[in-house]
């Protein structure tokens, strides 16, 4: 167990590699109740849009959108999921910065209902649909980035087909009083094992998904972070989000540095903070890195100068005085396995 965002959380159960590979092959259960679950009134959509570049007003009911809270300089204060529900907007924000997020939203005049009384469980992996579907009939009908209300043994659940592993799966919001019983019921399914923070990190790293506080922070912009997809089409045309002019200019002209994936030669992992070189010149720094169990090799995310950010660029990472050869590669490192709205797996 370790302290994380003010919570005592498990690093591992049977071992990070075993848990990682189990999740990719079967289904892994993660307790992610440290994340902040917030509700905003639907009428707040327009005001909320002044804080982020996503199209919130145009969200269909039961649709999730990934977005970014931005500061006045266009830096990322947090990344989050927003779902439009019948009566409200449902937000899931990072645990480590949720208090700051809530303060920021309230300072902008938004009425935030922080649901500390809800727990959040993530069930991830190709067999998640089988395991959850056995307990909660109907969840198989949801497509990726869609959500709906369900009940389990009389308990109201809000179930999203989404996650942070690159696999198909669900995130289940449940009243905290029923969370343990639901977790036990899920763990009783033969497809499901409990998964700790260690594998959560290695799974998301392979999926190319950034971790706030490491790969994203208040000094990185959406364009630098390779998250321009989170700037919705209408918002690109209309602006009206923090530092819109600067971010849109960066979108058209390109950023001076970019988040890239690096495949690292050999077996020695390169970790956060390791400098990245092109010849004798430092061109960047690793923001996340480690051994990737499904790739069976070390991988990393780094911010590097735009000139070195192209796929196939040969770079070097310095680890304990040693130079490791690394190559810029497209992310994800491991193909994603989502069940998309078309019904196709992509």
């Amino acid at each position: 167990m370790v302290a994380f965002a003010g919570y005592a959380m498990p690093i591992q159960f049977e071992g990070i590699i075993a848990e990682h590979l189990w999740t990719r092959a079967h289904a892994g259960l993660f307790d992610v109740s440290h994340m902040g679950q917030l509700l905003l009134p639907l009428a707040a959509a327009a005001a909320f849009e002044t804080l982020l570049p996503g199209d919130i007003k145009g969200l269909g009911q039961g649709v999730l959108r990934y977005s970014l809270l931005l500061n006045d300089a266009g830096g990322i204060m947090d990344d989050l999921m927003v779902t439009r529900r019948a009566e409200d907007l449902y937000l899931v924000v990072n645990g480590a910065v949720k208090d700051g997020d809530i303060g920021h939203l309230r300072a902008a005049g938004l009425a935030v209902d922080y649901r500390e009384d809800w727990a959040l469980l993530a069930l991830q992996g190709p067999e998640a649909v089988t395991a959850l579907g056995r307990l909660v009939p109907g969840v198989a009908e949801l497509r990726f980035m869609r959500a709906a209300a369900f009940t389990w043994q009389g308990v109201a659940l809000w179930v999203s087909r989404s996650g942070y592993t690159g696999e198909d799966g669900y995130e289940i919001s449940v009243p905290a009083t029923a969370a343990e019983a639901l977790a036990e019921a899920l763990l009783a399914q033969p497809e499901v094992k409990p998964i700790g923070l260690g594998a959560r990190d290695s799974l998301r790293l392979e999926a190319g998904l950034p971790l706030y506080g490491h790969d994203l922070d208040p000094t990185t912009t959406p364009v630098e972070a390779g998250l321009a997809f989170a700037i919705s089409k209408r918002r690109k045309l209309e602006g009206g989000f923090p530092a819109a002019a600067a971010i849109l200019a960066q979108l058209h002209e390109g950023a001076a540095r970019r988040r890239v994936g690096l495949a690292v030669d050999g077996k020695l992992p390169a970790r956060e903070g390791a400098p990245v070189f092109a010849g004798d010149t430092q061109v960047g720094v690793v923001t996340s890195g480690g051994f990737a169990p499904s790739v069976n090799a070390p991988i990393a995310m780094a911010y590097v100068a735009a000139a070195q950010a192209g796929d196939g660029t040969a770079l070097e990472i310095e680890v304990r005085g040693r130079r490791l050869a690394a190559t810029v590669v497209p992310m994800p490192f491991k193909p994603k396995n989502y069940v998309r709205a078309e019904g196709a797996t992509a």
Binding site: I11, Q12, G15, I16, I17, A18, G198, S202, K267, L268, P269, R271, G290, F291, P293, P298, R320
Partner: protein, 123 residues
């Protein structure tokens, strides 16, 4: 041959003036899946308490300090291809390196198996 343990969770098998060094089963359990071990090459002069090796697990990089002073005679060649030996056989095939003792008196402060087990039980 006599086996000694340190409070840094290393073991030493001492045979004459040669010691074989590795980390304990308790240590590997704390580290988790080992994916890389950086061991000192033969000829490296180690000073007790200074950095001797680095173990990279999936979680993190951890330093291993020289339990005694001496000169490395051999690094375990098997660890390069199979670092997981540190998990599966930490106190046998997963040894790190052998060294010639520079100062055998340094062994006096180390624990035997019973003392080490008692130490681990307090953690």
């Amino acid at each position: 041959m006599t086996r000694y343990y340190t409070d840094e969770h290393e073991w030493l098998d001492v045979d004459g003036d040669i010691a074989t060094v590795g980390i304990t089963d308790y240590a590997q359990g704390q580290l988790g899946d080992v994916v890389f071990v950086e061991v000192p090459p033969a000829g490296t002069a180690l000073v007790k308490g200074t950095e001797a090796a680095v173990v990279e697990s999936v979680k993190a990089a951890s330093d291993v300090y020289a339990p005694v002073s001496g000169t490395v005679t051999e690094a375990n060649p098997a660890l390069e291809g199979e670092p997981a030996l540190v998990n599966t056989a930490p106190e046998a095939e997963g040894w790190f390196f052998k060294l010639t003792l520079a100062n055998p008196a340094e062994l006096d402060g180390l624990m035997d198996a019973a003392a080490y087990q008692a130490f681990v039980a307090t953690l």
